[in-house]
Each structure stands twice: as C-alpha cells, then as structure tokens.
C-alpha cells in the first residue's frame, strides 16, 4: 500500500487557519503513507500535474487530497488519478476547508482537526477497492413537465436537436402564464403575438408529443431510463374529433363556470376553449358547472357538436412514456387575496390582482381590452398599484422578492395611460427592483413619460367609500400618511411555488426549499441540474423568474438533456450494492427494505438461495447494507469495512 497525500492551501482559504505544513508532516507518520506534501492550489492544472507526477515518481497506488468539499472537486481529482493510471476509486478527499478552516477559529485546533480528517481519509483509501462502471443503453427521449414558455423552449430545443420530446401540460392548452399576459416589458410587444408562433411550432413539430390537460401520475427508473405514467384527465370531448369550432361554447347554457384562464375576471361556459390561440384548440367540459353532470340532463353540446365529439362517459386515461431525461418546468403560482385581509382579502370587486389586470388589458380578454371596473364596468380614472402584496412579508410567510412585479407594474401603468389617456396611476413600492437590460430606463419612462406617481411606502389598508376604494398608505419620503381615492386597485400578489410542486418533487426524488421552489444542485455552477441525475430545471419552478430568464433556462436545460443523450450508452455509477453470495444466507431482509426494488431472489446452481442486485436499478443508498445482518450485501465504496476504518481512525481504543 503506497498512499500519497496532498494538502491544499487553497490560497489563504485553508492555509490561513490551518498549519498545512504541519498537517503534511504529521500525515507522513501514518503507516502506509509514503508521500505527503502541501500545495498552493491543488485543483489548478499544475497542482493536478503535481499529483500525476508524484504517482509516477513515488509509485503511489492510493491518493488522498485534503482540500475543499468532495461535493466540489471529487470528480476533478478522480479524473486526475485516472489519467495517471490509477483506478478512480483509489482516491479519497478530506474536507479541510468547508468543514475545518472556514468554521474553526483556533488555528491549533483546526490543524489537529485537519490531521485527523486526513488520517480518516488515509484509513478509508487503504480499504478502497477498484471499481469499474458498466455502461447501459439510454432512451433518447425527453420529458418536459409544463408547457409554459420555459417548457416549450426546452421542448423545441430538444426536438430541434433531434430528440423525441414529450410535453405534459396540466391545463388544456400550452402557453402557461405568458399566454395570459397582454404586453411584455420592457419592449411592450404583444405577449401572445410572440408566444403564439412558438405554441404552433410545438403543435406542429413532428418530434414533439403533447399531452395537454394531463398530469404526472408516477415516475420510476433512473437517468437514461425513466418510466413515466401520465394521467390524461377526462375532457368529456373526444379531441380526435373536436375541430375547435366553438359551436358548443356558443350554445352551452352553463354560463357561469369559473374561468381559470382569465383568473375569474369574468365567467365562462361549462364547456369551453380556454382562449382563441389555444394549442391544442379543443373544447373541454368542466363538470363542476355542467348541467349534464349536475342535473343529469341538458346534452346541448352533444346535440350541436357537428362532429359528435362529446362523450359524457369519458374516464381519465393513463399512458406510459419511456424517456431518458426530464426537464421540470412546472411554473409558479400566486397567493390568494384572502392572505391580505387588510387589502380586503378579496371582498372588494374593484381590488384585483396583477394577472387579472393583464386579462382586462388584453384585447382577447373578457373585456376585449377595455379597462373597466369589475363592479360596475365603468372606466377607472384613478388606478393604484400595490407592489409587494405579500412578497417580502414574513407575516404572510413569504420572505422573498417575487422578482418581476416591479417591472410589470411599470408596464401596466404605461398601458393604462395608453388605454385611458386621462387616467392617473399611483404605484406604492418598497424598492424599485429593475436590474436588467433596459429595465431601469423602462420604470423611469413609466414615471417621466407616462406620469405614473410612485409613492415609496407600504399600503396599510384598502377600504370602500361610496363607489371609490380608499387606499391608505405611508409615503416614507414625505414622512406622512397618504390616502388615495382610487377607482381600481391592482395588487402585485406574491409569486409562490405552483400548487402540487411538493408532490411532483417527491415523485421525481428532487428536493425543494422551504418555499416550495425546486433546489438546483449548485446555486452558481449547476443552476439547471438537480441532485437526481437526468432531471433538469427550467423556469419559475426553480424560483420567481421573468420571461427572458425562463427562456434561457429552458434552453440551458435542453442543452443539458441534449448533451446527456448525445451518448448511446451511459456509464453506471459502480458505487452500488453487491452481494457476497458466500456470506448471503438468503433471508431477503434487503429485498424488504430496498426503496427501488433493486434486489431480487436468485437460486444458485448449488441450490442456495441468495439476494441479487439489479445493477441498473440500484441507486446506491445503502439501506440494504444497514439491513443485512451478516454483512453479505455491501454498498461499494461505502462498505462496512470502509466506514469502520473511518470510525476506528477517529476513536482508537
């Protein structure tokens, strides 16, 4: 056994609070260690060359690097030792930066801690076994969850890259939030006009399969080979027949169905096509409002449908898709007004949310683009915008900034002036957050060219007075209380994780933060990857994002999927469970506890029954190893002996 140890200064990051020279010197005394040195930046190219050189010069067959976290550079150094001809698993890292130099103040204690961390790594590396990854075929198809702009971008990029792509969208049409917007900042170009073509591309691309009005039921498998069950929810309309003529919607007597697309600004029909540009442009019935379902008699749509597409007996259908990579672009949600009782909590019709206002501004919206008060359909002259309605407010449980409200409020103020020239907009804000190309100029235009009055302060209460809504708030710049008699109040309600985000995360085995947004595997360097191989993030599912950011992340996720699936075979991680058939007594307790059903019973020629690991299915958690009473099933690279070596290194008797 010839172990070489390399202690990294990491500039001053480690050397500042750890006596690296002494660590190297103490390490040299450990039996088995034949070479030990310290180096300024071990991860740098010369640093890595130094390692390769030492392996040759000193004939090392095991290597330990004491530096940063293995989560940072383990892979780097594994490649290094491999280049020098060692098996990549004959390498261990001692984390003396994140776990030592950065968190301990006493240099002597740190140094001592570092020495022991290294001793531990040395003991482990001496127990390490050579491991060889086997390769397996990948399924060159991609699943995109969510048909918003991020999801569509990802899907189109993947498909253009030649990969079959499946989109699962939970609402009846793709387009997501962007399809609902009127104009987009900072260019004021028509949202649906620039999104529409993308939606059409999605529909027409021969490599894209779209499951609209569908949800993820269950996901099994692993990178390269996922099996996904998709629940196609019953629309009660046979979409293979439906031409989207809209005849049914015309005649439907169920006139007050809740309009999800318009966020309830106005009612829609029980059978409806969400919006003119919908993709697919198909009708669906909302049983909650359909007379046929409520009263058991009506059938008007069935009568008028020219293609006889209506089917009241329709049931949910489960289809299975096999894919190699998954892009999660499930989008975001918005808080309900009831969380804001001081603003009326939804009791006042003329206090609406930003997204509702978008629909009112929108030419294809319920008011055909005429700005009116929901209460009496009159044209408002004084409009007050309240930013941070819930955002940056611990008492509502939302500590974070919703990212794009400042910008769309400025946009809506500008559009309001366009629609109603004699109107006056007020904007209550905490801070104007407009860090983006042309963004700050845009908010200034809203103020300077369109005369929107910006009031720095929070709104304490909104209440009705006659036909008006009184908005009372603080003007922290004037240091006084202000009251504005508004005709219409628009709340920039806080952005949240999309409903059901947590359940989806559990199906995907990815993690989500305290606010329900999905967690990327590194905040800076791996922003679209998750900790589950083959699953990537795009759009606001990972955190509040505006359109350009969502689109770029969509493309980024697609790039990741493309590069993953550019290979025909993937290398399996050899750090999985193995059974020592001599030791296995066939009690099959491991089978009972394996979270992945990766262990099966097998009868050897000798007639002995033993456990057998299905290599491609095993994810390497090691629950089986902790279950096995006779230590017959061992998680490679984390075997009992390897962990015991570390324990013994720490606590000698």
């Amino acid at each position: 056994m010839r172990v070489g140890v390399f202690i990294c200064h990491c500039g001053n990051n480690i050397a500042g609070t750890v006596d690296v020279a002494r660590v190297a010197e103490e390490t040299r005394k450990i039996p088995g260690v034949v070479y030990s040195t310290d180096y300024m930046y071990t991860c740098s190219e010369p640093g890595q060359d130094e390692i390769k050189e030492a392996i040759r010069r000193e004939g090392l067959n095991r290597v330990v690097v004491a530096a940063c976290s293995p989560r940072m550079h383990e892979l780097t150094f594994r490649r290094t030792v491999e280049k020098a001809g060692l098996n990549r698993y004959f390498f261990e890292m001692a984390n003396i930066r994140e776990h030592v130099s950065w968190v301990g103040e006493n240099k002597e204690a740190n140094t001592n801690k570092a020495i022991e961390a290294v001793r531990m790594a040395v003991m482990k590396v001496m127990q390490d076994k050579a491991l060889y990854s086997s390769s397996f075929k990948v399924n060159k198809r991609v699943l995109v969850i969510g048909g918003g702009v991020a999801g569509m971008q990802a899907a189109l990029d993947c498909a253009d890259g030649g990969l079959e792509t499946v989109i699962v969208e939970k609402s009846p049409s793709v387009g997501g939030m962007m399809a609902r917007l009127d104009k987009t900042f900072p260019t004021i170009d028509c949202s649906i006009c620039i999104l529409g073509p993308k939606m059409v591309d999605v529909a027409q691309h021969e490599l894209i399969t779209l499951h609209a009005y569908s949800e993820i039921e269950d996901i099994k498998g692993y990178v390269g080979n996922f099996q996904v069950k998709v629940r196609k929810k019953a629309t009660y309309v046979d979409w293979s027949k439906c031409t989207g003529c809209g005849e049914c919607m015309e005649k439907c007597p169920g006139k007050n169905a809740y309009d999800h697309f318009n966020f309830g600004v106005a009612p829609t029909r029980a059978i409806n096509i969400p919006f003119p540009q919908a993709i697919p442009k198909k009708a669906k019935i909302d049983p909650k409002f359909c007379r046929q379902f409520l009263k058991g008699k009506c059938g008007v749509c069935a009568k008028v449908c020219p293609t006889k597409a209506i089917n009241y007996e329709m049931q949910d259908e489960i289809v299975t898709e096999e894919v190699g990579a998954i892009v999660v672009a499930s989008g975001y949600g918005l808080i309900d007004q009831d969380l804001l009782p001081e603003y009326g909590g939804g009791r006042y019709p003329d206090v609406i949310t930003g997204i509702q206002y978008e629909r009112i501004l929108n030419a294809s919206g319920p008011t055909s683009g005429h700005i009116e008060r929901p209460s009496d359909h009159t044209e408002p002259k004084t409009i007050v915008f309240v930013s941070c309605a819930g955002s940056r407010d611990k008492s509502v449980g939302i500590p974070y900034c919703s990212n794009f409200c400042c910008m769309y409020i400025a946009k809506q103020a500008i559009l309001t002036k366009d629609h109603v020239p004699d109107s006056q907009s007020y904007v209550f804000y905490m801070d104007i957050r407009s860090p983006g190309k042309g963004y700050d100029e845009f908010t200034r235009r809203a103020q300077e060219e369109y005369g929107a009055r910006y009031v720095r302060g929070r709104v304490s209460r909104i209440f009705p007075k006659g036909k008006k809504m009184i908005v009372r708030g603080a003007d922290t710049l004037l240091g006084t209380q202000v009251e504005i008699e508004a005709d219409l109040v628009v709340l920039a309600t806080a952005v949240t994780a999309s409903p059901g985000a947590a359940q989806l995360a559990e199906k995907l085995h990815i993690s989500y933060d305290t606010n329900g947004f999905y967690v990327e595997s590194h905040p800076k360097l791996r922003p679209v990857e998750t900790n589950t191989a083959g699953v990537y993030l795009a759009g606001a599912a990972q955190g509040p994002k505006d359109i350009p950011a969502s689109v770029s992340q969509g493309s980024a996720a697609a790039a990741k999927a493309l590069s993953l699936l550019s290979k025909d075979m993937l290398e399996s991680d050899p750090a999985i469970a193995r059974v020592n058939t001599n030791a296995c007594v066939g009690c099959m307790k491991c089978v009972k506890t394996c979270p992945f059903q990766a262990i099966k019973e097998e009868v050897l020629r000798s007639g002995k029954t033993v456990a057998q690991v299905i290599e491609t299915v095993c994810a390497g958690c090691g629950v089986c190893t902790a279950t096995c009473p006779c230590g017959a099933i061992q998680l490679q690279h984390f075997t009992d002996n390897q962990l015991l070596a570390e324990v013994n290194a720490l606590c000698q008797m």
Binding site: N580, V585, M588, K592, C630, G631, A632, Q634, N641, L644
Partner: protein, 317 residues
Amino acid sequence: MNRERLKEAVAEILPGVDAVIAYGQGFDAAHGEPCFVTKKEELEGLILNPLCEHNLASYLPSRKNKKTGVVVKGCDSRTIVQFLQEGLVKRENLVIIGVPCTGVVSAKKLARALDHQTVEEVRFEGETVIARTPRGEKRIALADVSPDKCRTCRYPTPLIYDVLVGEPIESDKDPAAVYDDVRELMGKSLEERKAYWEKEIGRCTRCYACRNACPLCVCQDSCIAETRDPHWQSQRSNLSEKMMFHFIHAIHLAGRCTECGECERACPMDIPLGKLKKKINMDMLDLFDYVPGIVCEDKPPLYTFKVEEKKIEEHEL
C-alpha cells in the same frame, strides 16, 4: 400433557413428512432433548413433560424445503409465526403439532435446586417436581425451577398448529407484568445499569452458544462477530468486544425476538441475555404497537416505515 395422544398424532403425520421433530429423554433423568422421528419404531422414545424445555422450531429454517413435522409449545409457536412473517419457512412444508403447556423445567435451575447431584429419577405430580438423587427424594414446586419466560407466559396454547394435543389453556398471567424485569433495571441509575451489564457480560466467554441456540439468528456461520469482511470486531475477549457482540445480537433481533428464552437456556455463564432483547421489544411495542410472533401477516417494524410516525418525535438539543 398427554404422551399417548402425542404419539398417536406423530404416528398419524409421520408418513406425510420427512421427519417429525419432537422430544426424547436426555442424557440423564433431569434433561429432555430434541429427537428426530423418521420411523414408527422411534415413537417409543418420545417424551412429553416439563422437561421439554427446548424450542424445536429452531431447526425449521434449515429445513425450509423439506416437509417437516414439529412439536411446539405456546412460546415456541411464536417462533414459527415470526419465521412466516420473514419468509424463513414455508407453511406448506410444515405440519405443526401444538401442545398446550403449563410450564417447563429449567434444567439449570433444577440442577441448582438439587445442588448439582446426579439425578436418578424425575417424576411430576401436578405442579410438583419429584427428583431422586443419591441424597434421597426431593419435592420442588415447578414454579421454583421453571425458566423466567414461564412466569410471564401469555400464550400457553400455541398460536398456530395443525393438530392440537390436549385442551387449549388460557393464560392467567398479567400482560402488564411481562416487562417488569426490564422496568426494574431501567429504574436504576445509568451507572448502576452500566455496572450491571459490565458484571454480567464480563462473564461472557464468547462461546456463541446463545447465538447458535437462537432460532432467529439467521446468519449462523456468517455471523459478523466472527467474519473478517466485514471486520466488525476482533477475537479479543475483552469487555468492549463482548459488549459489542451482544449489542450485535440484540440489534439484529430488534423487533424479531419472540422471547423463547433459548439464549438464556444455552448460556453456560447464566447471563440474562433475554433482557437485552426484551428491552427492545418493549420499545417496539410502545413505538409501533408491535409484538413479534403473534400475527403471520405482520411486518417486522424495522423492515417497514410510515411517512408520519405517530410515536416518534424530533429530538431537541
């Protein structure tokens, strides 16, 4: 306990099985021992009395695929139920002869009561044991020489059987008292408990008799107390290694031990090994409302989980 009816029952099933595991007379009058009956002629050797202390179910996993008949007392039957829970035996390969039991004799306790004299004859009159030694006859109450498990026995009648020899018996023991011995020890201070086990386990010779006798020690020859890979412990016979061995045994039996008492019966050093497992059983009952070896359909608690654990709370620092 009716020997004649047992012989009939064994004779009846014998043709259909590979062997019937029953009790025969041991090396002296004070001991019973397991005996494998394969032929009618061997029936005469059978005994059925309080000397039938062993848990014969222990042999079953090694005969998983052989059709086997077995004689079990109430306590022993729980072992079979546990085997079935864990899939260690096949029900269809078992013919179970159950015998309701009013308590057995601990050979060790009897020897002690007779001051380790040679035993020439042992008779039973109801609840009394009459033993003849060179010093003459001695009458001893069965309760005084029965193993601890009998004193809190809740299941005198087997929980699972194909044939029942004798009439079912109801337990007259208090269910609450089962874990009194554990509670008593827990009542002591940490230091006292430490000292207690250092004294008890200090006597251990690492002969592994307890492990070999244990019906639920599935590993047998690949026990990690002896292997090098994984190398959990050295062969040194010092206290911490002894402790470690018994720790292993206890943890491996967590939520599985049916408290048949074989470990204590087999231990030449009289170490109260049952207590270790009973403590964990007590916690399993409290945490998961689970008692090993009662219901065949149960799942041992450590091989399953609930997303919301009612009884497990986060521990504060």
